[in-house]
């Protein structure tokens, strides 16, 4: 049984259709990136899965239970974070974690130990006794993530967990997610950060105007789009003659050049990539300083599907 399932999930806000028959299953132990533009229905889906709003039609199941009707069973082994969480301003980080830990039934000696560990992990140990009203957006996000991990759930439903974090926080979040994947947790990650999704997730679901456009493994999506971007940094700017030669190469769909960099829209596998590099250096005579596939492939796919 898949831990997260939606069947014809539909949600209207008044007359506005926010979700349109969304059907998807998330395999146990997988990490699915949930992409889409603003207003596409990502948060609506997450909120239904977390029992915060109710579908107009269709059903959601988490661990086999409907979160709208049976939140106790559905959310027992789940950690949810929705938008940037807010906390009771009178509480400090310790109060917040102890409160939610108690609600989840973590006993006293264990709770104290876990709270200490999780505050350390979230980088909030120094602010454990600071009132949450004094927390920045990033600190609130960290505390939200700490609350999610407190009971060591096997399913994580995360809505923009890196929102509001500084660059270091984003890297830490990425590493944390990778660690969670290693531990075999099932992760459903709504995000605008395509690079994060491509780095962390093994599958991507793309939603647009409430409808699921694509749901497949990241590698299959790259194949589907039959393209990836290769970024080539050069020691000197390429001549127009060299660029003409690049354009004529069989595997090159298109390219763009800017100063010492060429971005090649490339169609081919790893072998073709190696051949391209050799041709650029040996046949065309470009002085290549670096040659790397760009993370922009998913971005291209995203823009392509969202435009449509």
């Amino acid at each position: 049984m898949e831990p997260v399932v939606t069947e014809n999930l539909t949600k209207y806000y008044g007359k506005l259709l926010a979700l349109d028959n969304l059907t998807m299953k998330i395999r146990k132990g997988s990490c699915v990136g949930f992409l889409g533009p603003n207003g596409a229905g990502k948060s609506t889906t997450i909120k239904i899965l977390c029992g915060l709003i109710y579908p107009s039609k269709g059903e959601a199941h988490v661990n086999g239970f409907n979160p709208s009707r049976e939140p106790r069973n559905a959310l027992e082994d789940v950690g949810c974070i929705v938008e940037v969480p807010d906390f009771y301003p009178q509480f400090n980080a310790l109060d917040v974690l102890r409160y939610y830990g108690k609600i989840r039934g973590i006993s006293d000696p264990e709770l104290g130990k876990k709270v200490k560990e999780i505050l350390e992990l979230a980088g909030l140990s120094k602010w454990a006794k600071t009132k949450t009203s004094k927390f920045s957006r990033g600190m609130k996000q960290r505390l939200g993530v700490a609350q999610v991990l407190l009971h060591d759930p096997s399913i994580l439903i995360l809505d923009e967990p890196a929102l509001g974090l500084d660059p270091r926080g984003i890297v830490e979040m990425r590493n944390l997610l990778k660690e969670m994947i290693k531990q075999g947790k099932t992760i459903f990650l709504a995000s605008h950060m395509l690079y994060e999704v491509q780095e962390v997730c093994d599958a991507v679901a793309l939603i647009n105007k409430g409808k699921l456009s694509v749901y497949d493994k990241v590698e299959n999506l790259e194949k589907l789009f039959k393209a990836q971007i290769i970024e080539v940094d050069l020691l000197n700017p390429p001549t127009s003659k060299q660029l003409k030669k690049v354009k004529k190469l069989e595997s090159v769909k298109s390219y763009s050049a800017e100063k010492n960099r060429i971005k090649i829209n490339f169609d081919g596998d790893k072998v073709a990539q190696a051949k391209l590099l050799r041709v650029l250096v040996e046949d065309i005579g470009l002085q290549v300083a670096s040659f790397r596939p760009s993370a922009a492939a998913l971005e291209e796919l995203y823009l392509h599907l969202v435009e449509e």
């Binding site: 915060l52 939140p71 959310l75 789940v78 929705v82 939610y100 989840r104 039934g105």
Partner: protein
């Protein structure tokens, strides 16, 4: 292992009480109630005897103070979870919304009970000090006041489950302090109907219980007048307000979405 709903409700209650203590709301109310009660007792010191003093004091003090206490404690208690979005954390945990309502209600009830006890303690001390004895009917009046406090909380919880923070506070306060008394007075004076179904009218029993007049219904040349509300009917009306408001509050909270 998720604890039972009862244990979860007790956790919610404990942390709500902790929160009310930390934000000084409970302390603020304690000071307000104590100061108002002492001033009211001082102002009524000219009453002829212990019964007259008790009747006056326990009519004035609980009537207004219980409404202030109930609305202050309960006005934002559910609405803020939705409006300030703290519910994103709370409701995404494995806890039923009815459990949240139960825990929060218990916390407000404990606070209200404490504050009503302070009013009665001050009233009783002044009665004993001024007259050397206190009518035992104060205990019955205290019971009615607690029941009434519960009804005020229930009604405020209902508004808090439907409206925003400001709306719930204003509507609760104006319903209890302005609309119901005016409606009751109009029904009595213009239509000649006893407004036994209004919560604020039933609250009249709190003071009247100290020393009820011999005759409840008095015929006058202009019609019928009522010396005080019927105790049994009033108690039943107050209980009905508690039950109906709480049931509607639970339904509304369960249906309300965290958008």
């Amino acid at each position: 292992m998720i604890p039972s709903s009862l244990k979860q409700a007790v956790t919610v209650m404990r942390y709500e009480l902790w929160r009310a203590t930390k934000n000084l709301r409970l302390i603020g109310l304690l000071i307000l109630v104590a100061v108002f009660s002492v001033l009211a007792a001082k102002g009524l010191e000219g009453a002829g005897n212990a019964t007259a003093f008790g009747k006056e004091f326990f009519t004035v003090a609980p009537f207004l103070l219980i409404v202030i206490v109930g609305v202050w404690l309960g006005g934002d208690i559910l609405a803020s979870e939705f409006e300030r979005k703290t519910g994103y954390m709370l409701f995404a945990n494995p806890i039923k919304r009815v459990t949240v309502v139960a825990g929060k209600f218990m916390a407000c009830f404990v606070s209200t009970l404490l504050l009503i006890s302070v009013i009665y303690l001050i009233g009783t001390i002044f009665t004993l000090n001024n007259y050397g004895w206190a009518p035992p009917t104060i205990l019955g009046s205290f019971g009615l006041a607690v029941l009434y406090g519960c009804a005020v909380l229930s009604l405020t919880f209902l508004f808090s489950s439907i409206l925003g923070v400001a709306g719930a506070t204003v509507i609760s306060f104006s319903t209890l302090i302005v609309i119901m008394p005016i409606l009751g007075a109009l029904l009595l004076s213009k239509v000649g109907v006893e407004p036994w179904f209004l919560l604020m009218y039933s609250a009249g029993t709190i003071g009247a219980y100290i020393d009820p007049p011999a005759q409840r219904i008095v015929s006058t040349p202009t019609g019928t007048s009522y010396a005080y509300p019927d105790f049994t009917v009033s108690a039943l009306v107050i209980i009905a307000y508690i039950l109906v408001s709480l049931i509607l509050c639970i339904i509304a909270t369960k249906r309300r979405e965290m958008r």
